[in-house]
């Protein structure tokens, strides 16, 4: 078994070399002409740093504490569900479910989004109801459907574990074990979960072979004919905005619950597309299981729903080949696996 992937890799390299040789011999340079423009580089290159709030700057101690809390199922009423149950790092920080499964195996109404690059988001959740990661982190713990753990029970539970008391002291000296500290530490950890270099990033940096020809063509379609960039803009492929893209979901008003403006009926937050190939099924209600399904949705201009379809949604008239290219581009946004050590949680 161990030889498997290795052998495949070697074979791929051989094929790549052969193909390169062949295309050189025949003078096939079509893909070579698709180089990133200066504009692409300024628009899409990932920034080196993440924004941090002045009252919760990231320190190694805060990130470490947040990581422990994120993976600790004792943060839930059942002592069985952690943040990582639904935001599983092995599954693109999501859970592979159409919509999340919470306390008592109850099914929630919405899908678990990735926490990757949430550092760059101004509003959290599909409907943007939380203004910061600090505020958001406390939501699921107490939420009856998610982790169902009242804070007044959780604080003494954590205080009874000496290692946690030490870690809180190191992270937030003099503040003890507090609700605010829990939110801040988890937020610090989440800010450290940022996208890594993908084929697309390497291509932007000048490695022409880092993206396949179909993916390069897909990028042109993404910016041009399909105008995905009207909403999925910038390095994080999100405008941090809310749009109704025509998903037939009559039960969920989305952003309209938060702001009663007509255009927001059935509008949800534009998600990042980084690592999107890892987080199927797709959309707030998990209705599509593949990226090809998603692209087909956009190609027909979305479906009817009770709200107001975004005026940026219209039939795209993409050929089958163009749709496939678009999917290849989305796959090229998958970053290298994150180097992450898992915490060894204190038993008591």
């Amino acid at each position: 078994m161990k030889m498997g992937p290795f052998a495949v890799k070697k074979l791929t390299t051989q094929i790549a070399v052969a193909v390169m040789g062949a295309s050189m011999a025949f003078g096939v340079i079509a893909a070579g002409t698709l180089k990133p423009s200066e504009e692409d580089i300024t628009k899409y290159l990932r920034p080196a740093a993440v924004p941090q709030p002045a009252d919760n700057m990231m320190t190694p101690e805060r990130i470490e504490l947040g990581k422990f809390l994120f993976f600790d199922p004792r943060l839930s009423g059942s002592n069985f569900i952690s943040c990582a149950t639904c935001h599983n790092p092995s599954m693109g920080w999501s859970d592979g479910q159409p919509t999340a499964i919470g306390h008592g195996m109850g099914q929630l109404a919405r899908s678990s989004p990735t926490i990757l690059n949430t550092a760059y988001q101004s509003l959290m959740m599909w409907d943007g109801r939380f203004r910061s990661l600090e505020e958001q982190a406390l939501g699921p713990i107490e939420d009856g459907g998610e982790m169902a753990q009242p804070m007044h029970e959780l604080i003494p539970e954590i205080k009874a574990i000496p290692k946690y008391v030490q870690m809180f002291e190191a992270a937030y000296p003099g503040e003890g074990v507090s609700k605010e500290g829990i939110g801040k530490a988890i937020a610090s950890f989440e800010r450290s979960i940022v996208a890594t270099d993908s084929g697309f990033d390497r291509w932007l940096k000048g490695v022409d072979t880092a993206m396949s020809d179909p993916a390069k063509r897909g990028f042109e379609i993404f910016k041009g004919k399909a105008n995905c960039v009207a909403c999925h803009s910038g390095f994080n492929f999100s405008d941090n905005g809310f749009h109704n893209i025509g998903l037939p979901d009559s039960k969920d008003d989305g952003r309209y619950r938060v702001k009663k403006v007509a255009v927001l009926k059935g509008a949800f937050k534009t998600p990042t597309l980084r690592d999107v190939a890892l987080t199927a099924p797709y959309m707030h209600n998990g209705q599509y299981s593949t990226l090809a399904d998603v692209v087909a949705h956009y190609n027909r201009g979305g479906d009817k729903n009770p709200g107001h379809l975004s005026p940026n949604m219209k039939p795209l008239n993409l050929s089958k080949a163009e749709q496939q290219d678009l999917v290849e581009f989305l796959k090229a946004l998958t970053g290298d696996p994150l180097a992450l050590t898992f915490p060894q949680l204190p038993v008591n």
Partner: protein, 111 residues
């Protein structure tokens, strides 16, 4: 029935009120920001009776609205090049937002 005299009188009054300072301030939506004369603004001060014309200069839609006590309105979505105008009659403060892009905020003080 309107006679020419009243129409002229009306026009004169209208012109006078413009001259007296009821201005129309153009605020552009550009690169997901509110801009006045090309510069990004987060606050704007106007006089009671003035209007703000919201002009979309982006290649995508905006939806300007306010749920403020001073003035509640929803301009709906409109494309690049189009403008819609809102008149502010009373003094006070209005928080103006874009429904699609929640980072776009403009605090208008009407004096």
């Amino acid at each position: 029935m309107l006679n020419t005299k009243t129409v002229v009188a009306g026009l004169v009054v209208a012109m006078f009120s413009v001259a007296a300072g009821a201005a129309e301030v153009v605020v552009a939506q550009n690169s997901k920001s509110f801009k006045k004369d090309g510069a990004k603004i987060e606050k704007l001060s106007i006089k009671a009776g003035d209007s703000i014309s919201f002009k979309n200069e982006d290649p995508f839609f905006h939806n300007i609205f306010s749920l403020s006590d001073l003035k509640t309105f929803d301009l709906g979505s409109y494309p690049a090049g189009e403008s819609k105008s809102v008149k502010f009659d009373k003094p006070g403060v209005a928080e103006i937002e874009c429904a699609i892009h929640p980072d776009m905020l403009l605090e208008v003080t009407v004096k």
